[in-house]
Symmetry: C2
Subunit: 214 residues, 2 copies
């Protein structure tokens, strides 16, 4: 079965793509142009009522929300590719903890930076310097906690690469490659080593070849 | 083994408490007074570097982030109490999808309403009418999508109660019981029936007995 992934150009769908590559699952991509509003088209809203990407179709099964999809893929294809969930219930618990930290603590400020630095002019709203400053301060504090954590274990959930690390790839890539803020990673020794490790995985290099919206 | 749950008065820890009751797991609670800043005390920050509740200790094992903890408990105590994860990988996928919808779409606006309507004066910041209005509009749109979903299945992930429903209990309780906004639930027939169903579970009634911070 080939998994269909909608919206491959964008950051959240790339969480799904890199997970599928790690799990050695065949997939095809379905372009969705957010700048043309294709995610608000009635046919798409029937599949994803909130009008956002990614969305996958795995045969008759439809699923949305990137972090739900990567959990599903890691579980369904448990016996192949990289184990992304840890080996025990306790390790899985820590994977879940750091996935939640990514979603609740890391993502909101980095998403604000991406929106206000990279997308404001394309999407036609004014970039807000106050939001940029506050978000950068918040993200810095989160990265300080990551630095402490990564001084004790190679990856976030322990000494194994997992969904928790993988989930950071797309937005951190924007920070490093497109936003002139690589120093936020490089100023923190253990975060920097972690980033080199995870961003040099062949899976991520393959996903970058799918391109970006700008 | 008795699980220790830190911060039982507050909404996010109540996700954990109701999960433990559903799973028939013995627990004890450890009070943390956020209004006195106990979550920023160095001893607490050693356990939870972001300074938030809940946190659990299950023997030597420490875990934080409420939605990570409920996944861990539902998995570890799979063979007892209510099954909260569905019966198949596909059902679990939908549980994850709606847990993510709760975290990403439902929680941000309802959390803003709780902060600006219930906690602003206690926490000493000005309540912002614009944030209240925008958040209420956003929450209304999310609840419209829930209404459509719940017209087709009894619970969010399907015809079975799961972590996805459970995760909505604490903040929706604030909306209905403390904020004078019960009409947002009652104006939507299927959401209203769903709320009656989940909020009348004996587990939730027991958790309400732990009290609230005001």
């Amino acid at each position: 079965m080939v998994v269909k992934v909608y919206g491959p150009l964008y950051a959240s769908p790339k969480r799904v793509l890199v997970c599928l590559v790690e799990k050695e699952v065949d997939f095809e991509t379905v372009p969705i142009d957010l700048l043309k509003g294709e995610h608000k088209h009635p046919d798409f809203l029937k599949l994803q009522p909130f009008g956002s990407v990614p969305l996958i179709q795995d045969g008759d099964y439809t699923l949305y929300e990137s972090r739900a999809i990567i959990r599903y893929c890691a579980e369904k294809y448990k016996s192949q590719g990289t184990n992304l969930l840890g080996n025990t219930i306790e390790e899985r618990g820590l994977v879940e903890q750091w996935l939640e930290v990514e979603a609740q603590n890391f993502h909101p400020p980095i998403n604000n930076l991406v929106l206000h630095i990279l997308f404001a002019s394309v999407l036609g709203f004014p970039s807000d310097p106050m939001i940029i400053q506050e978000s950068q301060e918040k993200l810095g504090k989160v990265l300080d906690i990551y630095e402490e954590r990564l001084s004790k274990s190679k990856y976030l959930a322990g000494d194994f690469f997992s969904l928790a690390d993988l989930s950071h790839l797309p937005f951190t890539h924007y920070l490093v490659a497109n936003m002139g803020k690589e120093y936020m990673i490089r100023d923190r020794k253990h975060v920097s080593a972690w980033w080199d490790d995870i961003s040099n995985r062949p899976s991520w290099k393959r996903v970058l070849q799918f391109g970006a919206p700008f």
